[in-house]
């Protein structure tokens, strides 16, 4: 395996209560204030056309992650987001089966 250890290390937060009005672009933009965002996974439900209200944000640095976790409250368009350290690396997988990363 070429890409292990250092390269794959992502500092993820799990964000829930994302209002339906914002999409990946807005969420990503919001979290950019804490550090460089490498990944933003906001699953959409293909059946309904709405996203599922939660997403994963991956920072490139530990610092970005810590900054995001220290901030409280996180408000986006008047709605309060719930941000927590991503503890379950697998939690996104199942829902991904029906969802798409945008």
């Amino acid at each position: 395996m070429a890409a292990t250890a250092a390269g794959k290390k992502v500092f993820e937060v799990f964000v829930s209560k994302v209002p339906w009005t914002v999409a990946t672009k807005e969420v990503k933009e919001y979290f950019r204030q804490f550090g460089q965002v490498k990944k933003c996974l906001l699953p959409f439900d293909k059946e309904t056309g709405f996203h599922r209200g939660f997403c994963w944000i991956g920072f490139t640095t530990e610092e970005g992650l810590q900054n995001a976790l220290q901030k409280d409250p996180h408000i986006i368009e008047g709605a309060r987001l719930q941000v927590q350290k991503n503890r379950k690396p697998f939690s996104g997988r199942k829902s991904n089966k029906e969802a798409e990363d945008i």
Binding site: M1, A2, A3, T4, G7, K8, V10, P19, W20, T21, V22, A23, T24, K25, E26, F44, K46, E47, T48, G49, F50, H51, P73, I75, E77, G78, A79, R80, P89, F90, R93, N96, K97, E100, D101, I102
Partner: protein
Amino acid sequence: MAALLRSARLLKCSPAALSTLPCVSCRQYGVVPEQRGLVKDEPSVAVRSKQAQQFDWALAKLDSSVRRTGRVTKTLLLRIFHDICRTGYPSGNQALLLLRSCGSLLPEVPLAERIELSQQIWDKLQELGTTYDVSHYNALLKTYLQNEFRFSPTDFLTKMESANVQPNRVTYQRLIAAYCEVGDIEGASTILGFMKSKDLPITEAVFNSLVTGHARAGDMDSAEGILSVMKGAGIEPGPDTYLSLLNVYAEKGDIAKIKQTLETVENADILLMDRDLMQVVFSLTKASHQQHVPEIVEHMRHERGYVPDAMNLCLSLITHGHEETAFSVLKSFTGLLVESQTSDSPDLGNFFLRHCANMDKPVENIVGFCKDLKDSGLHSSPLQFTLQCALEAKKTGMAVELMRSMKEEGLPLRPHYFCPLFTHYQKDKNIPGTLQALRAMQELGVASDVDTFSIYILPSFPSVDSARTSLKEAGIDVDGNILIAAELRTEASRGNLAGLFSLMSSPALPNIDLSAFRASLISGFRGLFAGLQYFCCSGPTEAPFVYLYDSINVFIESRKCQIGSSLLFAENVAYFLYNLIDSLNETEVHSKEEQIREYFGLLKNMNISISLNIFRGIRNILESYQVPELVKSPFKTIRQYLCIHKLERALELKTQYETDMTPAAYATLINLCCRHDNAEEALKLKMELARKDSDAALDAQKYVALVRVLSKHGKLEEAIDMLKEMKEKDVQLRDSTIGLLTLTMNTAAMKGDANTIRRLQETIFTLGLAKPSSNLCSPLIACYLESENYAGAFDATVEVQKQYNQMPKIHDLICGLVEKGDAELLQKVMEFLSQERGEMMMLYDLYFAFLQTGRYKEARKIIETPGLRARPTRLQWFAEKCIAAQQMEPLENMVDMTVKLFECDRDDMYHYLLRLCKETNDWQKAEATWMKMQEENLAPRERTLRLLADILKNNDKEVPFEVPEVKEPIRSDSMGMVLSPAPYDTLIKTLLASGNIEDAMAVKNIATDHIPGFSLSDNANNLLIISQVKRCQMKDAMGTLKGMLQADQVPTQLAITRLVQGLASEGNSQDIQEAEALVKTLGSIKLSSMLFVNNTALAHIKKYDIDSAVELLESFYIQNTENQKSSISFVFRKVLDANNDAVLDKLSAMAERLCNHFASYRAATDLFLIYLDTGRTEEAKFLLQVPSLTNQDIHTVYTCFLMRGYFSQRSVRTLTHFSTWRPLQHYYFMRPDMCRMKYCMFSPSLSTGLDKDFSSAKALYERMQAEGVKADELTLKRLALLYKEAGETVPFEEPPESFRFYADKLNKQRSESMEPANN
């Protein structure tokens, strides 16, 4: 389930609607389809059992909806309807449940649609074979009324008749209501005539309808006059009467009258709920008098359940086209909602906006509401929310309009807002729709992006090219790059790696960010991966593994794509491994152990780590296959854990042996002393034991027995020492032993010895022998209550609560205070309760006390306290209490009073009532209960219907509905469930209890098939014996007994008795002997010593071998004088019952012989008593005339008689009659030591027959005086009362203590002097 059935929630219809409804014609009626004679195949047991579960599920689902919101959504109702249909055999009460949900529980559904729905459900269920009974027709009527459906009542009755269903009171009431709705008094009178001719009671509900009827006919005077008519008929107008009146005033817009009526109601101490006032609001609005709504809203008390009710009012108003009024109502209660809002961004009124969107209200109105909500700070983003609703409902037009408003407001519009619309069109490949949405997008200036295109737009078109053309034709501009990127993604997500490769190699490919299709690529891989996994399952070889590894690597290398695949890879491998191992069975794992080990090795070499979760999963599988060695090789083991477990178990075993070392003999001896109430000896032995072996400890039960005896005999300090010793020696108390402690303290309580109780309590709790419990704390309170010292009881309650946080006997205390009328102390108790357990609990306590003491008016006041909600556990507590004590009145009152109690489960309530009806076998009450349930529009649970049917059947009454079958878990095996032995055993017991041996045995066979070594429990076997005896299967019963004894089970006394009696009735004396021998080996069962003798004798008699019987009995009495105590009256009774004179002669001769030759009087006594008991006075006299019977013998006879406590009135009468006859007077009444005997003869006459007859009592007393019979205190006490009541001076000194005191004293004397009862 109450909420579901709350009939008061209904909104009545108004006449204003009449003119607007298209179906006013009375000719139009609900088409009630005719019953079809079609007989479906009987549903299988499995289906029925499933059905029962489903009903519970559906009911729970609907109920939770009603409970939370006071309504049911159409979606939920339809879902349950379809689910029920799918089973194919909808049951009667499922049908009822559905029908009852089709009325005002659907405030969001327009009336016409509700009617359609109920008709649809009615027809469909009938088609599926549901049998409708009167409750269904009544429920249908209710939906007609609630949905303002106009139909012809006479046609309805005809339909019922043709279906052979008898209308009942509730049916007629509702038909009257239907006539009254349209102001047809004549029609109503016709039905009223029917009711009268059938002698049905005219209830308040009828009068209430008439109020509406007269008013709708335009005759307000008559409407108002109904109230006095009611009073004339002895019915007080209730809240519903006034509500009818208020509604008709509202329809006229007569606010002055409304106010006046509200005042009258208040003065009459009648409570109108908020829900009632909401109906008035509804009536006002529908009649276009909405300007008065605010005045009614002001009257609301905001009780529990107000908010959901008000929300439903809003929804109904919106549905009926009055959204402006609805909005004003909404604004009137937002204040209540604000409190519950915790979020920084308020979103009040969501339900309102959503319903407006669903009902297609004009966008400008909605936008107005949004603006208002936003400006008043109630909602932070009302437009966005409404847009979301419109999108969810796929209302493109409304959504676009809303977005336009948003744009005007300066709110951002984003491409993904259109996704729900595209999804909708994509599903049915609706190209015009897609294009329309795209055009709107363009108009609103929203640019589409790759995502939208690839996921939502392109799939609607057959190909990328056709999409390109269509868009162009429709005049929609799209960035070409976006299209190509979208195409790339589609290929990738299909897993078409080759296609992707060619697309990417094309020179036309623009510079595309990898991130745009990375995810698709991953999902493409995943598909590939799944295939590999499937491949693997056919057997573990190295090939797929290596292939996977290679292919991914190769792909990554060749494309030079850093797609974060390493992460993906590790995770997938772990899953892969788990699935691989999971797919192997045990043998495969064992045989492939080596290969799997190699895999693990390979993984290690590849430096792949597996997450802990998955590792655990793998480990569990391997361990369950008993190859933990395999786990060990690459991972850590849990061997250490196992070692630790063993050590603990070893320790356990050790302690067990330690207790066995105690001098058991001492312990047994001490226990024996305790049983014989010998405190001295017990204490002595205990001290001896302590001297010999200071470490020796008794078991908990023996210690407690010792404590009990010591404290009972005033050796309190010693008792406390024992408790301390228990603590020192770490004796553990079990529940049963703790029960004994309670008993110990109760003994002290009966003596009024509070000090002893306190000391014991304190010691027990401080030592931590037992945790403070209500039971353990109750004796202290009981001690005070016993002597009616309520102040003391209250102080003790406070003390116990403060110290141990327990509040026992509080109900008894409050009841006592209420009865005594001690308002001051009661107030104190209430304050204390309120402070300790909260106001709600306090109110319940008070409520129950009022109910218990029959103060129903006060009880009603309490339960109507605003804000009070149902506490099921408390209601259950009281109901159980009533059922146990068979108190119908308080229970019935509780059920009646809780109709409007918030969240009260009505089915539970009626179930309690029916349980009590069952206890008292009161079918009339049960039937009346069923009527009430229909009136309340309740869908009962199956258990309730079964109970009701049971009561009716037991009384040979017709059951007017389909009885749901008992759930039978037998077939659970067909559903693939594995049951533990316990449910089988329970089921077998249930079947046996209902006498169904065949089914019980079938279940036993199933259980034996499924559970190796299954055997019936003691109880089940005992029941089996009894059932077999009942069926006269004596051989089987003997077999069961033998089997039990072999399995070391203990048969009950009852089972053995029935068995032996059964054998006797078959004349099988041999088997009786065998049974006797078998049972003797047990030793521990307390059986009547005469069981075997008597029944052997009867067995001989049955076989006409009377000589053997006589021989047996004779030798029994002759051989052992001790046997004098044993009675053979059972034999006599059986012979007498069989009218077997020949045998009786021989037995009677035997009795005489025993008297004459052997001075054994027992047989004669028994015979004499039987004669007396069965009213054969002549035979009894004859027996007494036996020449050899001396006075002494007769004395013996009488003594036996009296000692056995025969106090039935008939025997007493006969006996007192005898007492004036023959030598008795001479001998008997002259002897002073016989006074008590004589008294015994008189006492029952005094207490039973002559209580109310002073002159007779007086005469009797005088005679007793004359004959020198000394009456005891209880008799004197009674006599004194009679004298006082008659206004005469008591000629003797009245005993000072209470009745109860002397009654107890007498009972004690009696039980001490009485020999143990035999047989």
